[in-house]
Amino acid sequence: MVDAPQKDPIALLRLAERERSGRGKLKIFFGMAAGVGKTYAMLQDARRRRLEGLDVVVSWLESHQRRETEDLAEGMERVPRRCLEYRGRTLEEMDLDAVIARRPSLALVDELPHTNAPGSRNRKRYQDVLELLEKGIDVSATMNVQHLESIADNVVAVAGITVFERVPDSVFDGADQVVLIDLSPEELLRRLADGKVYAADMAASAREHFFKRGTLTALREMALRQTALLVNHQLTDMVPAAEEECAKSGNRLLVAVSPSPNSAHLIRWTRQRAFGLKAEWTALFVETGRPLGRGAQETLAKNINLARQLGGEVVTLPSDDVSGAVIRYARAHAVTEIVVGKAGFTAGTVLRRRTITERIVRMSGVIDVTVVQEKGRELKQERARLSSYLRPERASLLKAALAIGAVTAAGFLTLPAIGYRSVSILYLLTVIALAFTVSRTAVLLAAVLSAVLWDLLFIPPRFAFTIGKLEDALMFFLYFVTAAAMAYLMSRLRANRSMLEVRERRLSLQHEFSQEISAQRTPADIVRTALRHASRYFDADVLIFLKAEGNVLGPVPYSPGAAEMDDKELGVARWCFESGTPCGLYTDTLHMARHHYIPLLTQDGAVGVLGIRLPEGRTWMSDHEESLQMLARTTALCLERETLAEENRINLMARESERLGKILLNTVSHELRTPLTTIKGSVTALMDESTGGDREARGILLDETLTAVDRLNGIVENILSMSRLESGMLRLKKTRVDASDLASVAVDALRRQTQDHPFTVRLDGDLPAIRLDFVLMVQVLTNLLQNAARYTPAATPIGLSVERAGESARFTVADEGPGVADGDLPHLFEAFYRGRGVPSGGVGLGLSICKGIVEAHGGRISAFRNRTGGLSVSVEIPLEAP
């Protein structure tokens, strides 16, 4: 598993410089210790620029009551400090939001490494500064060399002080300008004596601890060196792009991460070296499947985070052979240098402690191996931690010892029966059995112990370590080898298998999740599936917010249980949504929140936020973060897909509407023209004296005109009905109607049109009255009858029958005409559908209108080929309508 580098501020800051993306510029005033004059220099610089017309604002100033500093700051605009209540005390912090709102061109931020009080959005001030830069505000800041993350160890070694307030190297390296405020130690000490650095009482203690000449000299050297390194770096950065590739070395470093605190030192060391070489570096964690105690877990998490923060690539590999895995990875990824600790990489048992480094060295081949001395103090701590390792082991060891003891006793009992040689079989069986249940150390111990006991207690001469016969000695040797080998192999097998099982379970859960969530079709279902899986997988409280109207986060989250949500939590979730970065618990931003929040990100930004909170007593590990990211990614993708699908549907509908609209326009204009042509033609013909005078001609033309008028009227009625149906304005006025009444009215209305066809009406006698809209149903029947008349040759019969069909009344209009092709039957009721080869004369709306009206009544309409080959259309209306 490869972990993508965290949003590395280096890259971002560098990018800003090259591409002028509008990001603010960072200028760091850098010094070796307090009192060298960094703040002073920063203020001087700011004043000068202010006189040039720049809009400068003091965001945070720590004057330490030094007169000169305060004098310099006079007259400059200050953003008021923010007061926070914490545990009954009032703390002051920089008001980040006020500065952002103020939008100065340059903001002065003193004391970059400061840790913000709880309740602030970001944990560290340097994060505040990064925000300011992102908003396009330039920042001038101050810090000391001891605050640099990668130097921390050196400072401890030199000054004997552990520094807790640190700034990641990435921030320092990414600064646009670093100004070194250099002062000789003598000069600084003189200042201290003059009271210009600290007030009298503090000065005394400062001199005691920090302000010793040796310390100061060392710090000065470190500051100078760091600045030189940076300058060198920036120098090569200014080389044009093509050459820059060559300037970058082909080096690649690898350091192994372990749960030991020593790892942190190695990581920092590697980082410094990589920076110096301008090389990429990787931190590799080999997951052996061995269980870790709580303390070890936390240290491991911290180490991995550190590696990430310092800009290294973090990789996790499963393997029970640490050194082998390291070498394999190094070879596969063209690593040029492996960094190891001298004392060895303590992830293995006590036995292996010293061998891992040696094994790596031995197997390294062409790859350089750098062995770094570990800190003595930390070694002691490490030994103490070993016990936290061994804790899960203790139970196993006990079990193994007891088992061997029991078998020994059994051996004594059965010795007369089976003989001393066969006792070895008992022992062997026990060792094999143990291999299934206890840890590797324990089973190896059992193997050794059993061999020893067997020799001591059973092989003659008994109760002595010596072995009498040669064949016994050989047997003993064989036993020992077999037992040890068996024990080792079996336990290794078991470890492998359990590790694979864990992985397999994880993978199959993920696969299951992917499949299930892909099958969901609505956002609610997607979210619920995600929640279900997340709760199960993490065994924790999970909740999901979704984007709502107006591109804001909806206020109510989906959650399997009742999630506690208040305005503050909602605010945190909203911030996560807007910024698109994880925040809340387990992070450095807004870490006082009750949940850990990550955004559900898509190409176009966040579509939601996922919140999680592990139950008490569990640590948040890096692979939790990875799994959560994967879950979030998948969920976001599914949500995006659904949104797109919905848009697609809407587009499709819009296009379909447009299409229908066009067809309507075309069809209607065509169909209307036909009767209009007849009317105009006939009427103008009649205007002619001779035609108009001829009785027969007149009769025919007038008849045609009237027919055309009726047709026109029919089309207009149909269009009106269609639009009423479409717009939902169709209101049914239901009354109880006799089927015969309905039929007779319809028939009567079409007397003229159906006169060419023999017409039969069949009514079921015992049909009760039906609740329906009389006028609309008449329209349905007239449409059907009209169709029958229009599309069948003259003299072919048309029949209307009304009968009872279960709980409905069925009206059927049947003709004996050419009927409708089977292919056309299912489409008959579609709007504007005209079958192939159908004579023109209608708009194709009639049947779809019938369908609309019939379905509004809760009924059904269907068309089929009848016995005579003609078309029958059947309408069923429920008798007892609701």
Partner: protein, 232 residues
């Protein structure tokens, strides 16, 4: 000569009607708005009024209400389809009959004549004949094809109402009010049952009535057919 007032805002329709009606010996007057129409009724005192409902200045109902306050002149409404509710309302408010556009001019003139006949004070109580139906209101006798028909009192009451309004539309509400009283309005079910029963008795083919015609959404009309020779 009978005079008719055409109130319609469409010039073509007025022109068409003028030509047709004058050919039928009517004296035709025109008005294009509701206001003009009312003034014309006051001034010219026509014998029958054709009132279009789609007038620009006034609602047809307003015009009718306006003139019904002081005139009983027969009014025939011209309306568009699917306006049954309006038609019923107007009929109940005093209109005599209606016709849906586009209309059959022959039908229009027929209805005008029916309306005029019913308005005429000489209400002859001689036997009413339509097709095979003969009704003698004075004798309270109903015959079909010469044979006497037994009707229930309610059936007779309905039939009598129809005869009194022969040729004219009667709304459901009107029938219910007249036959059952003002509280019965809305009980169209009752009516339907009785009508069906009546049809069974007086129609040659009850399922295809020729005398008692349903006008969907509005009411019923008893048609006046030429007398049918008794021996079929």
């Amino acid at each position: 000569m009978t005079s008719v007032l055409v109130i319609d805002d469409e010039r073509q329709i007025r022109r068409l009607l003028r030509v047709s009606l004058e050919k039928q010996d009517f004296d035709v007057h025109e008005a294009a708005t509701g206001g003009d129409g009312i003034r014309a009724i006051q001034g010219r005192k026509p014998d029958v009024v054709l009132l279009d409902l789609g007038l620009p200045d006034m609602d047809g109902a307003e015009v009718l209400a306006g003139l019904r306050a002081w005139s009983a002149v027969p009014v025939i409404i011209l309306s568009v389809r699917n306006a049954e509710e309006d038609i019923v309302r107007l009929l109940d408010a005093g209109a005599d009959d209606y016709l849906v556009k586009p209309f059959n001019t022959g039908e229009l003139i027929a209805r005008m004549r029916v309306a005029l006949r019913h308005h005429a004070p000489e209400e002859s109580l001689e036997a009413f004949v339509s097709g095979r139906l003969e009704v003698d209101l004075a004798q309270r006798e109903v015959r079909i094809g010469g044979e006497v028909l037994k009707l229930t009192p309610t059936e007779y009451a309905i039939l009598r109402l129809f005869v009194q309004h022969a040729g004219r539309i009667i709304t459901h509400g009107q029938i219910l009010r007249e036959v059952w009283g003002p509280n019965a309005e809305g009980e169209t079910n009752y009516l339907r049952v009785y009508i069906t029963g009546l049809r069974k008795k007086i129609e040659a083919r009850p399922e295809m009535p020729e005398l008692l015609i349903t006008e969907p959404g509005v009411g019923y009309r008893l048609k006046v057919l030429p007398p049918h020779p008794p021996a079929d």
